[in-house]
């Protein structure tokens, strides 16, 4: 097992290298000029060109890429073209809001979606099943920003239960931290819940038709034990897989959610950096996201062994 983990962690290095080359190349060929944005609309073309030179943007691709790779290998993701702040500092500033948002989203999603999927499978064809699947379809269909606006209008603006926007660090109190994140988490989690609920239902339906479930019933096991002890554990592998795959859509959704609720997270940092063509920040954030994604997939693979002892690495 340990050797497997080491192999997988080592395998992230070529993955990261490919991602780095891909992102750098993409940004190099993409139109847009940070010098023009820094200079502002009133600047002359000559001024913009001078700024480009001062930023080193006139250097050949290979020189820029080599210099960036060397810095990354030395643990330096570079400095923002605009703020002059180190990219690592900017990521560090933003990581807590994004991690908090994802953690609460994950907690809410799993808490609601798995029981919902299990109950829908158990009550297949009944009104409960249909309601659960309508909810699931809605979750897929309604865009995150629409859900966000509706939630903000009802719970923040009309009822005044929670703030409309912003983020309170957890060090300043768990309650304000949670109140700031509850609406964005629901908005972001809806599609995730829908995805997990549907997979859980489908997998549970398959498992519930297995012989060993019938045997468990014959031996007098209670419904709760059959559903949550015997069936769910055996249905867990596909569910964990979809939780891992869904993580990518969670990252994508965080970009929109953080913008709608003005949360200073990594999603907004990415969007702002792309709009301004702040190359070092874009490269740093994408590299970090890809690393996290690889780690999440590794965690999913390791969880397989927990739910299915037959799986060995």
């Amino acid at each position: 097992m340990f050797a497997y983990i080491l192999r997988r962690v080592a395998a992230t290095i070529p993955v990261m290298a490919v991602v780095a080359l891909f992102v750098f190349s993409l940004l190099y060929i993409a139109p847009g000029d940070p010098a023009a944005i820094i200079a502002g609309d009133q600047a002359s073309p000559a001024d913009i060109e001078r700024i480009r030179i001062s930023l080193g943007l006139d250097r050949p691709f290979l020189v820029r890429f080599g210099s960036w790779v060397w810095d990354v290998l030395n643990g330096d993701l570079g400095t923002s073209i605009f703020t002059n702040l180190p990219v690592t500092h900017m990521i560090a500033q933003r990581i807590q809001p994004t991690l908090s948002l994802m953690a609460i989203t994950l907690a809410i999603s799993l808490t609601i979606a798995i029981p919902l999927g299990v109950v829908a499978a158990w009550k297949q064809g009944t009104m409960i099943d249909r309601v659960a699947m309508v909810f699931s379809t809605l979750g897929f269909s309604v865009p995150v920003f629409v859900v966000g606006y509706v939630l903000a209008y009802v719970f923040a603006l009309s009822l005044d239960w929670v703030p409309v926007q912003g983020y309170t660090p957890i060090e300043q109190g768990v309650v304000p931290w949670f109140l700031n994140l509850i609406l964005p988490s629901i908005a972001l989690g809806l599609i995730y819940m829908a995805l997990i609920a549907r997979i859980t239902r489908a997998t549970m339906l398959e498992v519930l038709s297995q012989d060993y479930v019938r045997t468990a019933r014959a031996k007098g096991a209670g419904q709760r034990a059959i559903l949550f002890v015997h069936a769910l554990k055996n249905a867990a592998v596909p569910i964990v897989t979809i939780v891992g795959i869904g993580f990518a859509s969670l990252i994508g959704g965080a970009v929109v959610t953080e913008s709608v609720f003005a949360i200073p997270g990594l999603g907004r940092l990415t969007v702002d950096a792309i709009l301004r063509r702040d190359y070092p920040v874009i490269q740093g954030v994408v590299l970090m996201f890809s690393f996290v994604y690889v780690l999440v997939n590794l965690a999913v693979d390791l969880l397989y062994t927990l739910f299915d002892p037959r799986i060995r690495y």
Partner: protein, 528 residues
């Protein structure tokens, strides 16, 4: 551990965590403000973004400062002496000026700051071109000698147009003028809190205890900048609906530029004030590339102008609220001394599509593709671009509508290549009315060919008008120069003004002292 003691200790930990740790003392006076855009950098000399300028004028000060009538008054300066022909200037700093790090402001700092600013600003470049020397006389005075009169010196030093002539400590001012500074030490009424800066989310300014306001009443960049807040927090909210909700909910106190879509909602809220923010507004711009056919022929440019309806553009940009826009047969800002309609006849009266078609034919237009670059991520340029696509189709032009973002527009518009080789024919933008009050800050008016702004218009008559304005000894001569410039700009069709529009600002009713200005003026504002 027993169950009860476990529960008790858990509850205690929970309560401790749930109690907010107050990061800012409770009696601290805080103003929460939503700026027009993200504050992504903080150098208003190297960059000309308005949002940067707006933040910078809290941190740094100018030697002179303009009032609401664009008249410069001494600000960091106690005063100056000048000879009769405006070539020998000596400036003296007022007492008690301190940098935010506690050091005294000296003439050496000012000389370095002026030198950096002169490299970037058009007025500064004119001063530099005729400068014989700029040197400290003593710690409080410095002397600037020119070989040509420069009567507009005080306006240049005190204007609010970017690049603003901001004074910085010598070590910071020695930064390459084409590189952004990374240390934000000024002598203005507010200090920048670098530790709390989260670009894209929040910027914090704290009252500078060592600041001594001037005794005069504060007005725009001049007079006593009395701050009634210990902290001003800029909360960047990119989504307009969220910003509107935050303002209505009292989570923020002031929103600089609400978009027109949410204005009716804000007007209905009894807790909010809403009014025109910047009385100098903006002038929409139909920018033409003068280098390539068909618009390298003035007849083609005039053909578009005779068909262009500013009303169409303004309705698309600002909606039906006629308090927010008007047509503007001028390159200069309505309501200011510079405004003149001389030469603007072609923009007035019924639009002449047939005449435009005929003129295009005379200019040799033969159905070539017109590459129209439209930044669709900016509401104003998107609206302008859509109207233009329709207008060009009406006069028989073959439009290649390139939908892109503002960042990409910035790259494409800098290309002098032919449109078929990745260049462009037309793009849209707008110019702050404060930049169109005279030719000095008005880069878009310049018609110096290769060195002019994007589109590279060339007209000796326009350049003469601008030069005459610089040299004008009195108001009458200035007026004449502006009329000549306006007429020459229309004759040349340097660009086509698409109309004049204003924008609202909105603040909660417990906030008072908000004034109309081209930038948010925080001094004099208070909150109950």
């Amino acid at each position: 551990m027993k169950r009860r003691s476990f529960l008790a200790s858990t509850a205690a930990v929970g309560a401790a965590l749930a109690t907010p740790r107050i990061a800012v003392a409770q009696n601290t006076k805080v103003l929460k403000f939503i700026p027009q855009a993200n504050l992504s950098s903080l150098d208003a000399v190297a960059g000309t973004q308005y949002v940067v300028r707006n933040a910078a004028v809290m941190i740094w000060e100018t030697l002179y400062g303009i009032d609401a009538n664009q008249v410069p008054h001494p600000q960091m300066c106690e005063g100056h002496t000048v000879n009769a022909n405006f070539t020998d200037w000596t400036f003296t700093l007022r007492d008690g000026l301190l940098w935010h790090d506690g050091e005294k402001v000296t003439s050496k700092d000012c000389v370095a700051s002026l030198t950096r600013w002169m490299a970037r600003d058009t007025m500064g470049q004119r001063i530099k071109a005729s400068m014989e020397s700029l040197e400290p006389v003593d710690d409080k005075s410095f002397r600037l000698r020119l070989n040509k009169p420069f009567p507009k010196m005080l306006f240049a030093l005190g204007k609010s147009n970017a690049p603003v002539c901001l004074m910085m400590p010598e070590r910071i001012a020695k930064t390459d003028p084409f590189k952004l500074i990374s240390e934000y030490i000024g002598s203005g009424p507010m200090k920048f809190n670098t530790a709390e800066w989260v670009p894209g989310s929040k910027a914090v300014f704290e009252k500078f205890a060592g600041y001594k306001p001037r005794p005069e009443k504060g007005e725009w960049l001049s007079g006593g900048k009395i701050m009634n807040f210990d902290r001003i927090e800029w909360i960047i909210i990119p989504d307009a609906a969220t910003a509107a909700a935050a303002l209505q909910n009292g989570e923020v106190d002031w929103w600089e530029n609400p978009i027109s879509d949410v204005v009716p909602l804000l007007k209905k809220n009894a807790n909010l004030n809403i009014d025109i923010g910047d009385p100098l507004g903006n002038i929409g711009s139909f920018r033409i590339n003068h280098l390539h056919p068909p618009f390298n022929d003035v007849r083609a440019r005039k053909a578009v102008m005779m068909a262009l309806s500013q009303t169409d553009y303004m309705q698309a940009v600002a909606g039906d609220d006629t308090n927010l826009w008007k047509t503007c047969d001028s390159f200069f800002t309505p309501g200011t001394a510079a405004y003149t309609e001389v030469g603007g006849e072609l923009l007035r009266g019924p639009r002449d599509y047939e005449g435009a078609k005929k003129l295009l034919k005379e200019a040799g237009y033969n159905g070539e593709k017109i590459r129209l670059i439209v930044a669709t991520d900016v509401a104003i340029t998107k609206a302008e671009g859509d109207v233009t696509a329709d207008l060009l189709a009406k006069i028989g032009m073959n439009v290649d509508y390139v939908a892109t973002d503002w960042g990409t527009t910035g790259t494409i518009r800098a290309k002098k290549d032919a449109p078929s080789a990745g260049g462009w024919n037309i793009f849209h933008t707008w110019h702050a009315g404060a930049d169109c009050i005279n030719p000095a800050p008005y880069t878009a008016l310049d018609a110096g060919g290769d060195k002019a702004w994007f589109g590279w218009p060339k007209s000796d008559a326009v350049q003469k008008g601008i030069a005459d304005w610089y040299d004008a000894p009195d108001a009458a001569a200035e007026k004449k120069a502006l009329e000549d410039t306006n007429k020459a700009s229309f004759d040349n069709v340097t660009y086509i003004p698409t109309g004049f529009f204003l924008q609202y600002t909105s603040w909660r009713k417990n906030v008072s002292g908000v004034v109309k200005a081209p930038f948010p003026v925080f001094w004099g504002v208070s909150k109950t």
